[in-house]
Symmetry: C2
Subunit: 461 residues, 2 copies
């Protein structure tokens, strides 16, 4: 069992990783047969993340049946791993006693992550199940802004006065004080609780007992403020190869620590947001219902209907031209489509570079100039091809020249729109991934149709 679920090495059917498909079927069979013992035997050896995966992959009815049978098995770690869209459903299915037992063992950062998006009643149920001290820590964390370091940090920190030696620190660690499950540094603090450095456990272990802690601190030391944005926190971890970073409040006092595994999760969520927003898909999970999914996507399609209408309006100004030369109707979508694709290329590169902080004010003009040059070169090359083919197929040199010129104009516009739109959105404080795609393709549709049909009207009629 352990081997099937525990190894990252792909099975024979190598699109699987983590959860073997037979396991899902076997678990569903056990549920159908009302066989608790068999279900226990199947699920108990699994990592909580795999059980969460299983719950996400089955249908709502199957999930209800499985949980009814296996209520006692749901622990805090499984709740933590579950997709947000399912947490409420699962928490509601648990009794108060089961819920209390499930959340008590979690670290405060996991509880915060668990409750922050819950409806008030479900949130109260979880908070009520916590020990008093944990409840205070969680409620404190919830006072920090959403997506802030304060929500991400765990309040359990291993700290030591900065005048201690290695030996004193080790004795303290051995003294039976409660320690976090995972920690990587001992944070040195001054008498006012301000963190002044940290030592890795590796240095602590390999140094002599009499060494002062402040002699083995790391150059990489830095702190976050509780209100720093989680996205910046995650990028900082990645950029500077950090493993854990102390968090301070307004008075510079140590209040918690963010660890790299949490930063990695944030980075992955930011990725998800970027890629989905670029495609005009709201937040959502594969386990969402049809109605929730429609709710996430329909608004963007409605916006697109409006912008497509704008393009149609441009075309409608030229119906006379089209009537006179119907080949234009055949060719015009090519110009618009090429512009849309080139614009999406520029846009995606710009959005990604903004997210990774590779595109900044220092190099914005350089990038804009480069995109413009790329747009022009691509436009000229493609115009040669498309213009030539048009001349051959339609037997008209002027028509070829018109489509070639329109293509150059549109690819140049596409390149500029692709980089200006996200830069502008960033400047006014809107996520550049959000809806930029619609703006850019609106530009390329309007410019494409207008340039092509306009030129055709002037040159060909």
């Amino acid at each position: 069992m352990d081997e099937r679920s525990g190894s990252a090495t792909p099975d024979e059917d190598d699109d699987e990783f983590g959860l073997p498909p037979r396991l899902v079927e076997e678990a569903l069979e056990a549920v159908e047969a009302d066989d608790v013992a068999r279900l226990d035997a199947l699920l108990d050896p699994l990592h909580p993340a795999d059980i969460a995966d299983l719950l996400e992959q089955i249908g709502p009815g199957q999930r209800r049946d499985l949980l009814a049978l296996w209520k006692g098995g749901v622990d805090g770690d499984i709740l933590s791993e579950l997709d947000e869209s399912l947490r409420e459903e699962v928490i509601e299915g648990l009794g108060p006693g089961e819920l209390a037992e499930a959340v008590r063992e979690l670290e405060t950062d996991d509880v915060v992550d668990l409750v922050e998006d819950l409806a008030p009643e479900a949130q109260e149920a979880v908070l009520g199940a916590l020990a008093a001290a944990d409840r205070v820590a969680v409620e404190k964390a919830l006072t920090y802004p959403e997506y802030s370091a304060g929500r991400l940090m765990q309040s359990e920190v291993v700290r030591a006065p900065s005048h201690w030696t290695v030996g004193e620190a080790i004795d303290f660690l051995r003294s039976g004080v409660p320690l976090p499950d995972q920690f990587y540094h001992v944070v040195l603090i001054d008498p006012r609780l301000k963190p002044v450095g940290y030592a890795t456990l590796g240095r602590l272990l390999s140094s002599r007992r009499e060494t002062p802690l402040r002699d083995i601190t790391e150059d990489s030391f830095r702190t976050f403020h509780v209100e720093d944005e989680q996205g910046d926190v995650a990028r900082t971890f990645e950029k500077y190869h950090l493993i854990s970073v102390p968090v301070v409040d307004d008075d510079d006092r140590l209040v918690g620590v963010v660890t790299i595994d949490d930063a990695m999760t944030v980075l992955d969520e930011e990725h998800e947001e970027d890629i989905l927003r670029l495609a005009g898909v709201g937040e959502g999970a594969l386990s969402d219902s049809v109605i929730d999914t429609v709710r996430g996507r329909l608004p963007w399609l409605v916006v697109n209907l409006g912008t497509a209408g704008l393009a149609a309006l441009v075309i409608s100004r030229f119906t006379g031209t089209i009537q006179a030369l119907v080949a234009l109707a055949t060719l015009m979508p090519i110009v618009a489509s090429m512009g849309g694709n080139a614009g999406t290329q520029s846009l995606t590169v710009a959005v990604r570079a903004l997210a990774t902080r590779d595109l900044t004010r220092s190099n914005a003009w350089r990038v804009i100039r480069r995109e413009a040059a790329v747009g022009l070169v691509n436009g000229l090359v493609l115009a040669l091809a498309l213009g030539g083919m048009t001349m051959l197929l339609f037997g008209s040199v002027p028509l070829g020249l018109v489509i070639a010129s329109a293509l150059v104009v549109n690819l140049f516009a596409a390149a500029l729109a692709g980089v200006f739109v996200p830069l502008l959105m960033e400047r006014i404080g809107v996520d550049p991934a959000l809806a930029s795609g619609t703006f850019v393709t609106t530009v390329t549709d309007v410019v494409g149709f207008f340039a092509f049909l306009g030129l055709a009207t002037v040159v060909l009629l």
Copy 2:
């Protein structure tokens, strides 16, 4: 200085993070003034990642001048942090002595990462600069497949026989053996060098000296094989919240360890690949030249030219219909554009879910059914709007019905293509992000134009 560069808290102009823009300008001024001392004073306090950022953000000529002036300052860490596209350029600019000094201090995994994409001569220059033992380790790593765990791991591992006690392990660590810069576990091995468990340094520090190591090992223990794919490795780290994982060879012997910071970098690179490939942009960096950028993007635009031609071919079959009713030319891009957008939505969700392994064989049919239902619902809602508006604006009920029907058909096709195309590509072993977008919009263009113009021909003429 330290504060300006070291804090993750954004400045007043809060689109900056890491590298303040004035610093770039000041450094360039120092270069222009040939003022080495001033350049040193500016760059020395910076983190290598920030210096790499600076080199990436300035132009090629400025870079050449800066490096000529500041050759001695380039160390291995800066080379590691540099974007691949610039490494070769910078390495070529260094003398052999400077290069040797730069790479000697790096861990083997960083050297591997540094050399694997270099041209043979540059690679040889770096390898030649290494100490013999390191060179062997790096050359060994280069025998593993690209993008494998073997290339990602560091060969420096802290290991201990599984029968040791905590005290024995600590004494060993204190004995002055060379230790890696960063390590988080002591890996327990059996006499055949097979890893059998690991203990965190935190547990080691907080346990009594006489405790056997095997009593404090972690449940999370798992190993990777040297040939496991880096993408799977990174996902496994994220899914199971791992911090470091031992790597074994074919004989199950411990040969290295992958740490979470490397996994985080891989995750970020995989995301970059997904988002850029979805947009039809080849690999590339902001610092690439115009020509390199054109090379990355033009091929996709050429493919798009072909598929746009296919759409044009469909339209050309209906020129008679368009001539008879020129309003069709105005309206037809709306149907195609809506389909393209809806298809991109489905596609992006499917590509992302495949990348995170949320979409598997177990739930593929469920997801396909959901997408089909979403496509149908969105199609019906939008058809109502578009059909109604068309009836009003063009005063024709049949035209409204035709465009409404075509929209439903196309959004249904878009939903199916958006999920089938990436699933199919995954099944045949091609990256689902690669070129799926072009396939999907080809489907939606062809279906959109055909359904609309075909229905119009039958119903309206």
